[in-house]
């Protein structure tokens, strides 16, 4: 069977109401970005510790 673009979607739509999708800019609040940056820094710190251990 060939499903062309006009074919029905394969999943059930549960709600037809049109909600506005939040943008990435809205999802990425200061708090979220700060937490992500902290995780990156934490990972960098662990990597440095691991490298230091390997050198010993």
């Amino acid at each position: 069977m060939t499903n062309l673009p006009s074919d029905p979607k394969p999943h059930i739509q549960t709600n037809k109401s049109k909600k506005r999708v939040p943008t990435l800019g809205e999802l990425a609040t200061k708090e979220v970005v700060s937490e992500m940056v902290a995780l990156i820094r934490e990972n960098q710190k662990i990597e440095m510790e691991e490298r230091a251990k390997e050198k010993e």
Binding site: M1, L4, P5, P10, T23, L24, G25, M36, I40, I46
Partner: protein, 212 residues
């Protein structure tokens, strides 16, 4: 600033979901400045999508518990949505797409070096081509015979200061139809039962049925 690219192209991604290849996800996780640069560039997009297979690649081989935990917490943040490939029915649709794409790639002599994950990411981008683009540092895994390059970002790397390119690609339905016809012709009608899936166009995105 570490991310260089045409800012006009950023706006073309407005309202689109951006599916992440593992190399790009790792790039975000390596450098806070790069993370913030990309968030600012893509601020009008609908967010990042991470597939289960990409999540697996991002998490594999990490034996240090603290590192693993940091990675898990990172991708659990609200700017990332999971794809719907965990749904059994959708997974089967994606397999159909991936298999067909692999055949088209091979016929067009662009089939080498594509992993299962590459094919599945291509299949997702195909299924949701009206809402989703893909960003990757391995453009050759998403070949020209099917995908259009929308824009390219160069990212300055820490350490040696080299540049790494990341491409945003979209599924081109016209190219797909053209090469599908070629495939059908080459198989002399035996591909009559070929199965593939592309979701119908929508005027706008309903978060209750599309987002993941």
């Amino acid at each position: 600033m570490k991310v260089f690219g045409d800012s006009k192209s950023d706006k073309e991604l407005s309202g689109k979901y951006i599916l992440l290849d593992n190399d790009f996800l790792n790039q975000l996780f390596r450098d806070p400045e790069v993370l913030v640069d990309f968030i600012l560039r893509f601020d009008s997009s609908a967010g990042f999508l991470i597939d289960t297979l990409t999540e697996f690649e991002f998490s594999r081989d990490i034996y240090n518990f603290k590192q693993r935990k940091a990675r898990e917490e990172f991708i659990a943040k609200s700017i990332f949505y999971p794809t719907r490939s965990v749904n059994y029915e959708i997974f089967n649709h994606l397999l159909d797409n991936a298999l067909l794409l692999s055949r088209i790639y091979s016929q067009q002599k662009q089939g080498e070096g594509k992993s299962f994950t590459d094919l599945m990411l291509a299949a997702i981008t195909m299924l949701q081509s009206n809402t989703t683009v893909l960003i990757t540092g391995n453009k050759k895994h998403f070949p020209l015979c099917i995908f259009d390059t929308l824009t390219v970002y160069n990212v300055e790397q820490d350490g040696d200061g080299s540049m790494r390119a990341y491409c945003v690609v979209s599924f081109n339905q016209n190219k797909f139809k053209k090469y599908l016809e070629q495939l059908k012709l080459s198989e002399k009608g035996s591909l009559k039962t070929v199965s593939f899936h592309i979701e119908s166009n929508k005027e706008d995105i309903n978060p209750d049925d599309i987002p993941f």
